[in-house]
Symmetry: C2
Subunit: 306 residues, 2 copies
């Protein structure tokens, strides 16, 4: 799957991923009205509004981008109805040949991580049958439990040609509380980065990249520069561009000299573009066109520094 | 909710929690047969088998114990059908007045953690309405992202009188890879433990315990002893007893002098008791009675050292 991701990035010339993290407050009023008229102000109504909103965005941008990153929390908060729409969104994006990076940040002890890995990336056995369940292409994984928690994901990645992105240095303001603390003179994130490199070493694809990538926030460019060297074969998934404050100029060091090796995420900046002054002229009814323009602008912005 | 948990532990004299982590391989053949006859070897069939299995166990043990801990991964691996049974299990346990500790190990940046927190412990808004969604009483949370990732959970705990258990020192063999590394001469888990104490300081209930607890594995008793002192007001959720190797004698230091402060989990050791030589005489058809006997034995074992 890492090879497919690299191929699609080359084809689209767009090392970006659109974060499908829908908040109800982003969804245009007319979409909410239609959904609530049909289902009431219910969990089902919320889920339907999010589905229509997502579908509009995906239809408008799918030809420009290699991948999407749905954030499962935004669906899970609406319970089963929300998770049905997460599944529907994953399936729809796959039908458009988009690579789906599920931002699930799971991680547990071995047998439990194995359950997450088969459910999201692999196949689960029921009697004599096996099923692909959520069927995403990549998942984000939390490293706090160490190799036990990661290995079941890596095993499934090898079997199913899927991939993971391990949280190394996250984009949020307090990420340094634990991640930046020095261990033998080096920050914890470097230690985790070195393990990412190790975990991925038997999974290098034809593209030269491994199935074990890393999450490194755009908001910490100096750390990105160091981590790029520690994990030369790992793709870096970069959140924090745009709404969280990361700028294109900061991103150059997340890439390798081949112009590859990183994929930059924007969520709110794309999916709620119509709410920004810059794209306000599109109007709420054309929110998806605003998202398309925001994608075009983001690709130009990022390519301008590479 | 921490006060309810303490009250129920005192009433039952059982500082234990039963982990509802059903693997299909634990479910008696006759239950699987009935479910597969009705739904086929499908995800729905798997979910139905797990539901019937869970219900049997809960019916057999609910009067002996204060709490259950369903592990969401074991349901999530079967997709939407599995998650419906997770929800059904939570609801059923609550109808039996059991405290439900959802082992979800979620954690993300602020706005995303907020979505998990409202979905699992709080209420989500849809237009002018609000809904309790999964409605568990406690959730486990991963600390790797720092205070940003935890605070939204703490806020919901305050509003809704719910609680969390933050992963501090996990029970798995490789937990030390990052958690034990020394920072200014102290292991990372102590640093996380000190933050747990801090995060909980405004949430102390009538019982004297805070809504912010910690997960500390039974498999590392010396560390449990130190962590008990670092987090005097936090309840410790202790996985790793029984099947993972933790022994009752190891657990005494996880408790405070009031005989409270810890709740010990057993999953496989209880729910798959009928597969152990010790309980084999119950037979598969009486798997729930075997689980009941295993609960009785576990309570006696733990109380013998307190």
């Amino acid at each position: 799957m890492i090879d497919k991701l690299v191929k699609k990035i080359k084809e689209t010339k767009a090392p970006i991923v659109v974060g499908l993290d829908p908040m109800l407050s982003y969804v245009p009023e007319y979409i909410k009205k239609t959904a609530f008229d049909e289902y009431g102000e219910t969990l089902e109504g919320a889920a339907e509004a999010i589905w229509q909103y997502n579908k509009g965005i995906v239809d408008a941008v799918h030809d420009l981008i290699p991948a999407v990153k749905p954030q499962i929390a935004m669906y899970e908060q609406f319970g089963i109805e929300g998770l049905k729409v997460f599944q529907k969104t994953v399936d729809y994006c796959k039908s458009k040949d988009l690579v789906v990076i599920a931002d699930i940040k799971r991680g547990d002890i071995g047998s439990t991580s194995a359950a997450y890995a088969v459910g999201h990336l692999g196949k689960v056995a029921v009697g004599s049958k096996t099923y692909s369940v959520f069927g995403e292409d990549f998942a984000t994984v939390n490293p706090y439990l160490g190799t036990d928690g990661i290995k079941p994901f890596v095993d499934v990645c090898k079997e199913e040609k899927k991939g993971i992105f391990v949280l190394v240095k996250t984009s949020n303001p307090s990420s340094g509380e634990f991640q930046d603390r020095l261990i033998d003179g080096k920050p914890l994130y470097e230690l985790v980065g070195a393990m990412v490199n190790e975990w991925g070493k038997d999974t290098i694809g034809e593209s030269g990249y491994s199935s074990v990538g890393a999450v490194v926030g755009a908001t910490y460019p100096e750390m990105g520069k160091v981590l790029r060297k520690i994990m030369p074969k790992s793709f870096i998934l970069v959140p924090g561009y745009g709404a969280q404050g990361g700028k294109a100029a900061d991103l150059v060091h997340y890439f390798n000299e081949d112009g590859l090796g990183a994929i930059v995420n924007s969520s709110r900046g794309i999916i709620a573009a119509y709410k920004q002054e810059k794209y306000a002229s599109f109007g709420e009814a054309n929110y998806a066109d605003a998202s398309r323009q925001a994608v075009v602008d983001m690709i130009e912005d990022i390519n301008s520094v590479l």
